[in-house]
Symmetry: C2
Subunit: 295 residues, 2 copies
């Protein structure tokens, strides 16, 4: 996640090489943020058509079928450039007024009002919006018993607004198996399609993987995670990061579920980033795999 | 766990004050080990009857009902002292010959043969025996696919020998939810009563709590754990300790299950012992609870 237009510009201009498409969920705090992101896209679009010079072209023209737009604006193609845009933008709100007021200085209802035009503008540009709802299973101010009915109401409003996906954030890691199960039951009963939901569990109390298992059992197939369990929450003291990607991938593999993620490479990345940041690798799987490899 | 007769003697002579009885599962490697432990018990028994002197007696005689033996040999009571003995002794073997040969220098069958007289002698002294079976869900030499049928056969033999309880050790932490589930299914089908089973999961791959949940679901009500997740296995490189007691207690509480363990005190103990040992506290629950407390 990053809300800086400069990062967005960099990634749109020079996307890292990858065999699979990578989603960069750019966090859009408000309408101004979205307009800034759209300006970056438009500027890139016009620059890639106006600044294209033959000397910057590759020796041989790219073998592009006539009906396919160039997907490589960095090469300075002279064919009409596409409007480069992020594959997804993200908005965030909270499940409790207490958290919402301290985090975004407005109530949940005000948040929904403010985010309406953001979703509308983004969808008019065919950019899917992912909405994060924070503290769905525990709030640092209101405690663990956040109303699942409120979460369901917010979810339905976000889907009605046009959001493509909702990530349910257990920001504090207070989620327990029974309450996670209850949350998904209430969401189902409220008519929220599970295909539109993602689970976002922090591992502060070591329950994230159990909660992921409960979410999977409820039909959720999108789970947020971070390599080496990086992250945290400035508003929830002592809160650790998301469940480690390594743990999730290992767990999915054990269940015979395909994630498309290479476990060993992820472990290497987690080890590298932990060393760069000078912090303990938060993934047990990562540490165990690498210890075994280095035996 | 400790197999030293000196520790046994110390704990029998001066058991730490506790409102509840504490189990010290003394590890008995072989018949010689059991005989050493029994000598300690006998020596304590005779010393507490022969060295009792009036000057060592408390000012007022203890209010002991006539039919109840004194349970406080340290006070030098002149009433016939009980034969002090550990509440439980432990033996260990493995689920694979590869691990057994490297860990105890004999095959699994030889292990069972050697342990028979140990169990017999202990039960003749009315001391219950707990048997640990190592590597039931993964062996460092044979890999993850340890035969659950072999584990069931060993379990039945141990129960037939007279063992009171069997602790199923996922020594390497390779256990996954589906294989843990399959193991308990095979054990049930083989006629092993789940009431005699304990789960002993290491958290090397972060799966211990998930596996505990699977064990609970299968009817297991005894789970081994260690404060701050202390421990490891010298024969399984990179292996971390048992699942942290704090995580288990927190998880059980979340399910509405009574453990009789005070979570906050356990977290304090885990924090203290981690500092004493100069190692990172391996319990997320412990760290999170203490961070919140010190806010």
């Amino acid at each position: 996640m990053a809300d800086s237009p400069r990062i967005l510009e960099h990634l749109l201009k020079a996307p890292p090489a990858s065999g699979r498409p990578i989603n960069y969920p750019f966090l859009i705090p408000n309408l101004k943020g979205l307009e800034a992101a759209l300006s970056v896209c438009e500027a890139l679009s016009s620059s890639s058509t106006t600044t294209a010079k033959p000397v910057e072209s590759p020796p041989t023209p790219p073998q592009t079928p006539p009906d396919s737009p160039s997907l490589d604006p960095g090469r300075g193609s002279v064919s009409p450039a596409p409007f480069p845009k992020p594959t997804e933008l993200s908005i965030f709100l909270a499940a409790t007024d207490s958290f919402s007021l301290r985090n975004t200085n407005c109530t949940v209802a005000e948040s929904l009002d403010r985010l309406g035009p953001v979703v509308q503008l983004a969808t008019s540009h065919h950019i899917p919006i992912r909405a994060y709802i924070s503290v769905v299973l525990g709030c640092p101010y209101d405690g663990p018993n956040v109303s699942p009915i409120t979460v369901a109401e917010i979810s339905n409003k976000l889907l009605d607004m046009g959001c493509a996906e909702i990530s349910l954030g257990d920001t504090t890691g207070m989620g327990t198996a029974p309450r996670t199960q209850a949350l998904f039951r209430v969401l189902r009963e409220a008519g929220v399609p599970v295909q539109r939901l993602a689970g976002h569990f922090h591992d502060t109390y070591g329950q994230a993987l159990v909660n992921c298992a409960v979410a999977l059992d409820a039909g959720v197939r999108v789970l947020d995670s971070s390599v080496a369990g990086l992250g945290g929450c400035p508003y929830a003291k002592g809160a650790t990061g998301n469940v480690a990607t390594e743990e999730i991938v290992y767990f999915l593999q054990s269940m015979g579920l395909e994630s498309g993620v290479d476990l060993e490479t992820t472990a290497e990345v987690g080890d590298w980033i932990s060393r760069v940041l000078g912090r303990e690798n938060g993934s047990r799987v990562g540490k165990a795999l690498l210890a075994r490899k280095r035996e």
